[in-house]
Symmetry: D2
């Protein structure tokens, strides 16, 4: 599988640099006859966009997708769907100082070593902006999943603050996308304090999938949990993946684990049980701190922006597994 | 990619059930001219084998690999290497009671739902015994990595006990493969106590890769961390993957993260930096507890047995990334 | 896709050398619940086997397949199916003279150049014997195609003799598998004459698929004709592939082509129309001639033996396309 | 492998419809540091373009590629290269009559059956215009092949006329791209006569690869000839593939075949020998004849336009095999 593609039957190919002409995605394998319009992408692109609150980066990204292939008279045709998002906030001179100075904790260093020649502007291909492609693909993926599947991500933890309630309807009403309104306030204060000292905060995202179809996932290397793990760790900010009881399984006696179906996270033997999925992602604090952060265009906390990307990747994995299961059922 | 295969250029295909005639592996893409002999596999197969101590399952697995293809006069030829391990401990009558009674917390339930017809004996295809194929592939993978790469896994945590020292030479001298001799004793006692009450214990495995080559990993979906995550979560017992500072990144300020290269775990931008890798796997407690465990053939703690499997998968991922990088360098 | 594997959803992995311990195949992706028994393979293995008549090689291959994985109580389980055929006619000393002397027109030369170290015995991996794996896979593939699909190959041409009738029931009654009984006699005489002067004969095989399902084939690179072409040319003896009117299209005016649906060969736009497929394979004369042939263990005409292999590959391609279409329909 | 992608290490993904907003290609896996500019594509796009002579379609395609990703300061970065070509000659009303009336011999019929919803305008995704993507990819592929490789296609046959000389420098000086200047004249007259009666002509293209590197091609299903066959048959107009002596092998005695290295076509055992490749493609006559052709926008002979597409696909296959070989050498 080429490195910029993901999925066996619902295949997502991502391309584009943060400061090149455009980012984009090709989705191959989407069934025909599905309604799809530019407007479908706007809400998720908006959710992914930085600069939505005083907490996040000042960079203005007005993402207008253009469907250049695969849609005819408002519906998919079975042909590859190609979507382009032009970059508008290109100020390459802002990045000239990074040409030969890799930023600590960024991909700059390894990309330079591996490829020799690289686009140093704002992370280039390794920029978080690449995730626009995932969000676009996720919108399409959701359309082929059976009705009733709901993929809900939220900030379970930010810095020292851990949510203890799950009220999904409150998620979009606070800038960090925490499902616990009280904890959300503490998180906001924490991130504001990070920002004030030019520092950043990481966290843990929980993605729940309500109404998960059963039978998703294939044997051995195609286990649902294995595909999800690859999908999550393909995102730059993600440092870990776990499901169900997560790393807490290390301390659980087997008798407790077996008795608590929630610990399975909706997956047994690598295959979905039909119960809700519970997926966890460890999000590192942004590496742009100190002098870099002082320039004011960096997020003190990328967690809320990563949430729609994680949700999109979950949708892509589920759509792929759904088609795979359908092929042989 | 077919679900029972893994790797783009060094491709591992696993087959076989725990109580069928044989397990095996096909490794496609191994360069020619590499010395390989049946004896090469025996130490790692022995490390994976249960029943090595009073702590573990009584099941006797005397794994004798047979190389049926790909080796000529003691060396690889570039043709696919096929290796077979016959199952000798087949007592299907032991499992007759499981035919229509899926064991809680096992794959039995989802395999039955997904496939209708399944091999119910001892987990069948979903048995931990499948990992014999991984161990065989790992032995070959290590041979194509540059000299000096050393992949060292150990039990970082079992139940409540967390190792605080890393003395790699002590790992094989205690049954739980803990690199901290003092903690090892406490772990052994803990597992013995679990066994006494027909319960089981999980843990966390840390895999360090010393002498990691730089430049391993591809862009976006082929990131080294993404491939490792898929590889880890393809193992039944694994509930989570993390690297470097792991889930602790959630609580770290960015300034701390950036200042501590150990937090990166040897991976930046999804590509190896040349520093040691640090990888973590959450291992669930075995689901065979209570009545099932009382029959006496089950491991109270699979952690030490999972270690050689994790090491093998790391070797496979690194070998694949090594060939991929070589193709385009 | 690894080089020894074929197919996206019904994936065939071939392994083994002609004079190694065994040949075999792993079929991944076969749906569960399909009846499969060793006896199913015997007729096709017998059809592929050399030495069936005075016309063909004296090498005795008594191919006894062993199913080592994927079948439980006589039916598939969705797990990979692995089948082994032991080599029994190993006389490596017969080939010692070939160790450093590549035979003209054989793969010996290029394998030595590419891999350095090779199995020189009887072609090793490049031996026609490798096609045992294809025949095994073809038997399984046929089982997942809808009822009524019939794949019929026959010798359309051998040397100068071209069949003019198609009487499928007569195919197995002459050693060259010609569907035209009169031409068959001339072909037999021609091959006998070749044999008498230690020479060999090539030909053209036509494969017709009666009862082809419609809608098989995917866009662009996954066109049915493209997959079939790859499948055919993956066989050592095949020098060309064509469908429908074949290379005769070069001389046809468009008005004639469009008016004659038979010219389309059952494929339009790369997708099956539901009409019978007509596929053609150019088979080169065996390269073992003169002194090599004089030793008496070589086929003067491999055409009849290639026929079941071509049929098997057609079955594999159709099965894969069938599953692919089902996934998204 | 997704159906609109081709190649393991040098992966080409094609997208776009003939009358949609744009066509394009994503090339993943191109090594970094290679100079690439929009101007590089223009000559090959011009060669592929219809309407270059009175013999061909009147459709005006002024193909201006835009590189939207993967190039930084004039060189590749190892990131996926995405290129777009806008469609300018969109007159959808010209095709309204085809909405429910599939044209005989075209993909219209099978696309409608398979997908239900399709873009009926000018072939949509199945249009020959899709090959723009191949030509773009071919330009990049040539850049990673070793210096000295020269891929030369020409019209070996058109209708009844067969070239008997090979003078490569004359190919571009006649509208049908025949390497035999005398035969070229007869071919031109033949096609003009076809045009006059609203008919069309097919032919045979020969592609020679001068300076072919040795060792290209992988075992079994990845044989060079198998990859080339798939590549050729992925083009709508191609009805057959052969190499070396082609279908003539059917009539050759083995003694003659073995003695004539030209018969091998530069490939033995599926691997390049280092000699020139000789590849043949049967090109069907265009299916637009009679009333459809009378409208005047259709090619009476697509052979010359298919030549640069075939050359491009050869370059893509060779580049992919080159990287594959390099990975393991």
């Amino acid at each position: 599988m080429p490195a910029n593609s993901f999925g066996d039957l619902f295949t997502v190919t991502s391309f584009g640099e943060s400061h090149g002409p455009a980012l984009g995605v090709v989705v191959d394998g989407c069934p025909a006859g599905i309604e799809l319009d530019v407007a479908d992408f706007l809400p998720e692109l908006a959710r992914r966009r930085p600069g939505q609150s005083g907490l996040t980066s000042a960079r203005r990204e007005s993402d207008t997708p253009e469907i250049v292939a695969g849609i005819f008279e408002g519906r998919t045709t079975g042909a590859p769907i190609a979507i382009l998002v032009r970059n508008q906030d290109q100020r390459p001179e802002d990045y000239e100082h990074l040409r030969n100075a890799p930023r600590p904790g960024h991909a700059d260093e390894t990309l330079a070593a591996k490829y020799g020649h690289r686009d140093h502007r704002g992370g280039g291909r390794a920029s978080g902006r690449e995730t626009v492609a995932r969000v676009l693909a996720g919108v399409i993926a959701r359309k082929i999943l059976p009705a009733g599947v709901r993929i809900v991500g939220h900030a379970l933890r930010i810095g020292p603050h851990v949510a203890t309630r799950f009220e999904p309807d409150t998620i979009e009403s606070n800038p960090l996308r925490c499902a616990d309104p009280d904890t959300a306030k503490a998180m906001v204060e924490h991130v504001a304090a990070c920002r004030a000292r030019n520092d950043s905060a990481g966290g843990i995202v929980e993605v729940r999938v309500l109404g998960t179809p059963k039978n998703l996932g294939e044997p051995v290397f195609g286990k649902l949990k294995a595909r999800l793990a690859q999908a999550f760790l393909s995102i730059g900010a993600v440092h870990g993946f776990a499901y169900g009881a997560g790393f807490d399984v290390a301390a659980m006696p087997g008798s407790e684990y077996v008795a608590d179906r929630a610990a399975f996270g909706g997956i047994l033997g690598g295959i979905s049980t039909g119960e809700d999925l519970r997926l966890l992602a460890a999000i590192k604090p942004a590496s742009s701190v100190g002098e870099v952060a002082r320039q004011g265009r960096h997020d003190p906390c990328v967690v809320p922006r990563v949430i729609p990307v994680l949700e999109a990747m979950v949708a892509v994995v589920l759509a792929d597994c759904w088609l795979l299961h359908r092929a042989r059922a």
